[in-house]
Amino acid sequence: MKREKATTLYLGPQHPGITGNMMVKLKVEGDTIVNSTTHVGYLHRGFEKLMERRNWLQSFTIVCRICVPEPDPNEENYARAVEEIEGREVPERAQWIRTLVLELARIGTYLLWFAGQSGSAGLYTMGQWSIGDRDYVLDLFEELTGGRVYHMYIWPGGVRRDLPEGFEAKVLQTMDYLEKRLIQYDKLMFDNTIFQKRAMGVGWIDPEKAIEWGVVGAPLRAAGIASDVRKDDPYEVYDQLDFEMGHATTSDVWGRAQVRRFELEQSINLVRQIIEKMPKGEYYNRIPNPMKWVVPAGDAYVKTESARGEFGYYVVSDGTNKPRRVHIKGPAYVHAMTLLEDMLKGANVSDVSFIMNSLGTCPPEIER
């Protein structure tokens, strides 16, 4: 009789290494993983059911809570889907403000990701720095929207309020600060040989299969495939802005780190461009009384490039004052389930949370 050598190791749900509240069940032989299963559902709130019971505007409070680290792409997606079904025009200034908010959110999420990626490798100093700096971005959000984490700022028909006075100068100041800090981040994390040793060759995704497997966002770009919703399916004013996609060919954790590092820099540039080019004018195409607001029947699939990948919303209206169906697909829906399960086979136990962070795993958007 063959003796079972594998140990079962439960990574989560109560585990400091796991990103959020989920569980990866590992079968381990020595330090090598032979099998892994992702278990989710610890955060399931039934958002899509709740939205069927709320009217179109009430659903907004729900939409932004789907992804905690980066709520703005969700708001934007939902607003854009509703606008597409209804055919509502968005003033030009509102589009620019939305783009600004999205880019700021991207910067904040990348800073949070720096913390996750380096923290899972034991470099806690980086996390302390970057999350501290992320707070300056959150301060900007607080001034703009009144909320630190959940903003509920991007509405159908525009944005909720105009930029406050002197806001542009503050944004530029923060961007200058972040750019200076980026040099220090490089020294601490990206030029660190130990980090490079940890990251190189770990978590490899086959570039030829990547598209078919549903890889999106930074992991796909790190596999050498130029794919960015901002370029491929431009929304808001991204077609009027000048930026580059991150690019790497190694298709491992190191490549993803480089892509994200590059895109943080690009986002800082984008914010500067937006502030420079932003036109004056109306910021809100007012919707009728929200309680009686009826959206005509129809459906729309919209998507946004969030910091972790492509966010897709499929919204169906049946011509009443409530959405018929809002179906959300976040990048982690594929990344953390089938892809992660495949990638972990043969990996080292030490690298599990490292790989998970590099894929941008975020359980709330799997479960909603």
Partner: protein
Amino acid sequence: MTTENNNLEREEAVVVALKATFPDLTARVKRIRRVEASVSKALTPSVLVHAKNVLGYKALSHISCVDWIEDEHFELVYILWNPDEKIQLLIKTLISRENATMENIDTIWRQANTYQREMREMFGIEFPGFVGAKEFLLEDWDDMPPMRRDFDTKEFVKEAFFLRPGREDAKDVRDTIAKRSKEEIPEFAKKYSREK
């Protein structure tokens, strides 16, 4: 949203290409980069395979399901993405709501596994031949699949959970706080108090 309706040649070409292979299917251009096709249930897997292997829709972006309880059917929406043409193709199909079953497309796209697990759990759609863990988001669920329209979540909540009663006395919250912390209510605040 800027909808340029002037240059839709590539989208039109997709419609033509789809219709050439499958004469039964209806397809139309929704807007730039969005093409929609309605297919019968039996034809769906072959359309998906054709779209993936011949037309270049390599990526499966999304599989959604809408419950049209009035018409007694589910609408499944397979959303595909063509990374070269940059076109999103929505393939819609209707299946009966009673004993809902659908072809398993796990073998075409590996990640369909997750979507099908969710649909099986949330809508009760069965996929013959599909192997996947039974539980996905819910644990020990013995009620109706919750995403069906006839599942009333409010009634369920009333039965299953404790609901904190509201403030029945409808007193001003300031009074309660003040009473608890034994603070003097400032003069200006008293006139807002509902307890006269």
